[in-house]
């Protein structure tokens, strides 16, 4: 079983647990570092941390802040445990994008790659989203000016987030895909949200993991990359700079193959999907470590079997098992 298949399994399982888990009484809490969207209704199996963050900040009382501290602690523990593997292996919205990507592949349509300059310019978007999620709820809690507008801005990021519209739609709840005509503010916000959703659906059909570089949750998670247990490491001497890791990377990280000094190549956007390790043609040039212990590393044989040039080699199963263990 390849890592890709394993990842698909993890994604499918977590999609059912997080989006439909409520049907069998699963409730994982409100501190999940992934798009466990509460807008899917009663079937949800947990709540996205960003939703809870905005909610608590919006209440603004002392008790609420204490609860936030507690949530932040649990959130941090979860993130430190597997870092941004939450994005690559668990996120239900990531799963939806991967499915759209699979459709593109089945039709043999090529992917789009943004120029570096454009990507650098777009990098600020996630920060904008992050500050929206952080500051507007405070305004809601303490409406010093324009209280009527503030009142309609509860969960401001959520009403912009494509997850709010797309995830309920995926499980067959089209009611969410509608403009909220309550006030001018809600109209603007929902129209913006629907625009982002449409863009994301079209984008994900043309570009791999279209939404991920703009996700404020990903930004939050990336702050833990230095202390998180899972890391992506590179042996710079073994690397031939063949660029394969860049071409297979769904979020198109260049630094992995360009890095020539540091061993740690877990970069901000990296979702730890481990495709680069899977497709690296050099023995041991790339590897994933959990608490410093190598759990998966690149092999030349593995590369050629993935290119269907040699029959698949049975890979070290315990490595995979270890990885799966940390994910579930």
């Amino acid at each position: 079983m390849t890592v890709t298949n394993l990842r698909w399994m993890a994604l499918i399982i977590s999609f059912f647990v997080l989006i439909l888990g409520g049907l069998i009484g699963i409730d994982l809490g409100g501190f999940l570092p992934t798009y466990a969207c509460p807008y899917v209704g009663q079937t949800r199996g947990g709540v996205c941390f960003l939703f809870r963050l905005q909610f608590i900040l919006g209440v603004g009382s002392w008790e609420a802040f204490k609860a936030l501290g507690e949530h932040l602690l649990y959130f941090s523990i979860l993130v430190v445990l597997i870092g941004r593997a939450w994005c690559g292996w668990i996120c239900p919205f990531g799963f939806v994008q991967d499915v759209l990507d699979l459709i593109r592949r089945k039709f043999h349509i090529g992917y789009i790659r943004f120029p570096e300059r454009l990507r650098a310019n777009l990098r600020c978007i996630k920060w904008i989203f992050f500050f929206i999620a952080l500051l507007i709820p405070l305004w809601v809690a303490y409406p010093l000016f324009a209280p009527s507008v503030a009142g309609d801005l509860r969960q401001p990021f959520c009403s912009l987030c494509p997850g709010k519209y797309i995830l309920p739609l995926v499980i067959g709840d089209p009611d969410s895909v509608a403009v909220d005509f309550k006030s001018a503010t809600t109209i603007t916000m929902t129209i913006l949200g629907l625009t982002f959703s449409t863009l994301t659906i079209i984008g994900a059909l043309l570009k791999r993991r279209f939404w991920c570089p703009y996700c404020p949750m990903g930004l939050l998670l990336s702050w833990y990359k230095k202390i998180s247990f899972i890391k992506l490491k590179k042996d710079c001497q073994k690397c031939t700079m063949c660029e394969v890791c860049y071409n297979v990377c769904p979020v198109e990280i260049q630094q992995v193959f360009k890095e020539r000094e540091n061993e740690d190549v877990t970069f901000t956007d990296c979702t730890l999907c481990l495709r680069c390790v899977e497709y690296c043609p050099e023995d041991g040039a790339l590897r994933a470590t959990f608490l410093g212990k190598t759990i998966y590393k690149s092999t030349s044989k593995g590369f050629f079997s993935r290119q269907h040039i040699i029959p698949a080699v049975p890979e070290e199963k315990h490595q995979k098992a270890a990885l799966e263990h940390t994910n579930e």
Binding site: R105, H108, I109, G110, Y111, R113, P115, E116, C236, Q237, K238, C239, T240, M241, C242, E243, V244, Y246, N247, V248, F257, K258, R260, R275, Y279, P281, S300, F303, F304, Q307, H308, I309, I310
Partner: protein
């Protein structure tokens, strides 16, 4: 081509030209024969090597390359185009996918380089001289057979060579960027490959039905070359073994033969050779002891029939376990990494494979090569590096300083050898190489002795 030249000349001159040509052709055949005979003398020669030696014999001695590449003249294959390539940046996948056959034309013949001498400046490297000599003077039919020649703009000599070659044959220049890191140059390179693809489609297609390079055909050819690369990598792995099972000069001939064979046939033969060598490894049937000094032959590529340096090194009692030349280990090392079957991904991956991991010194900065050499020195437990510079190859010579510096830190001695294709300096080289190999041998014995003492 030659006909044109001879038509313009008086019958007497044409006669003389023909005589000269015959003279050179005879000499070429003789020197190629000598090298092959020397290789075949080795009692430990792996049986699988005969295919590769035979290829060289067919091309250079018997001049029957046509039968080699297009074996069935009466079938549909006989109108397949043959495309000559220089350097290692020409994507053979595209050529195969277009239904043509690529042959690599970088010349290694002393005789051809003598002819080329008259056509290019004195300081040009012998590879270019020989290539021009071969093309202008029809010594062997390989060069006449090519319907078009693709010349990448790598070093100065190759670039100008492309221009000179266009007097004799149809030349397509392929612009290789010299800075790999920037996004712009990579995009430009990709664009170049799209242009090449279009040209190939036009060139190989029948007159009115411009046959396109199809997704499936490209995928198949990527796989075909991928399996050749897999076998080349297997040989590379086998040569890492603590006691060698194949001589460097033999392994290098085997890789070199890929230039003149179709990838499919070559892969079959290589698989056989690798199986044989792996069996040798298991049985412990080594060709020399573990104490033999292990040499890395760096920089310029020995190209058949110029087998002067590899033969000398191994005659002197060392063994070449690795080389990093573009006719050797580097030729088939880096594979195309596909993740999906779309045309975009295939083109992007091919572009990446031919540009990014290439450590040709025509790129600057070329730090990657130093990493590569360090890694090879470690992987193959190298005792010494022979830095082989062909006269006129300035760019390889430039990098010597850096290579010497990093190897000094690793305590690996480097010997620089500058020569061309002539055999005049052979005795002098023999003395130098002998001294170097002996020094390595003593060093190795001493270190092994101290090791055994310690345990």
């Amino acid at each position: 081509m030659n006909k044109e030249i001879s038509q313009n000349k008086s019958p007497n001159e044409a006669d003389q030209l023909q005589k000269r040509k015959d003279h050179f052709a005879r000499n070429l055949a003789r020197s190629a024969k000598t090298v092959l005979a020397e290789l075949e003398e080795n009692p430990d020669l792996p049986l699988g090597m005969h295919y590769f030696i035979n290829i060289m014999r067919e091309v250079f001695v018997k001049d029957r390359v046509h039968q080699l590449l297009l074996p069935s003249l009466h079938q549909s294959t006989n109108n397949r185009k043959i495309i000559g390539t220089y350097c290692i940046m020409v994507p053979e996948e595209l050529i195969y996918a277009a239904g043509a056959i690529p042959v690599r034309l970088c010349g290694g013949s002393y005789e051809a380089s003598c002819i080329g001498d008259e056509l290019v400046p004195r300081d040009t490297c012998p590879v270019v001289k020989a290539s021009i000599g071969f093309t202008s003077f029809n010594l062997i039919s390989l060069y006449q057979m090519c319907d078009a020649v693709i010349v990448p703009t790598t070093c100065d000599s190759k670039r100008k060579m492309g221009e000179e070659l266009s007097k004799f044959t149809e030349v397509w220049m392929l612009e290789v960027p010299h800075i790999k890191d920037s996004e712009g140059s990579r995009r430009q390179w990709l664009q170049q490959l799209y242009v090449l693809k279009k040209n190939l489609e036009k060139f190989t297609g029948r007159r009115f039905t411009g046959r396109k390079i199809r997704r499936k055909a490209l995928d198949t050819s990527i796989k075909m070359i991928g399996s050749a690369q897999y076998q080349a990598r297997r040989l590379y792995e086998i040569r890492k073994s603590s006691a060698p099972v194949i001589l460097g000069r033999e392994a290098m001939i085997a890789i070199n033969a890929y230039s003149y064979a179709t990838a499919f046939e070559w892969t079959k033969a290589m698989t056989g050779l690798n199986d044989e060598l792996e069996a040798r490894c298991h049985k412990g049937q080594f060709i020399c002891s573990e104490h033999t000094p292990r040499i890395l032959l760096a920089s310029c590529s020995p190209i058949f029939p110029n087998w002067k340096i590899p033969s000398l090194i191994e005659e002197m009692g060392a063994v070449i376990v690795a080389d990093e030349s573009c006719m050797g280990n580097r030729y088939l090392y880096d594979p195309v990494g596909l993740t999906e079957k779309s045309m975009t991904d295939m083109m992007v991956s091919i572009a990446a494979r031919y540009l990014m991991p290439c450590v040709c010194p025509s790129f600057a900065p070329n730090e990657d090569r130093l990493f590569r050499l360090l890694q090879m020195a470690e992987e193959f437990s190298i005792d010494g590096i022979i830095y082989y510079v062909l006269k006129g190859c300035v760019i390889y010579d430039f990098e010597l300083i850096r290579v010497e510096k990093i190897m000094k830190d690793k305590n690996i001695p480097v010997l620089r050898i500058e020569t061309d294709y002539s055999s005049e300096d052979i005795e002098q080289l023999r003395t130098r190489i002998e001294a170097f190999v002996e020094m390595l041998g003593t060093k190795k014995r001493n270190s092994l002795a101290t090791k055994t003492l310690r345990f």
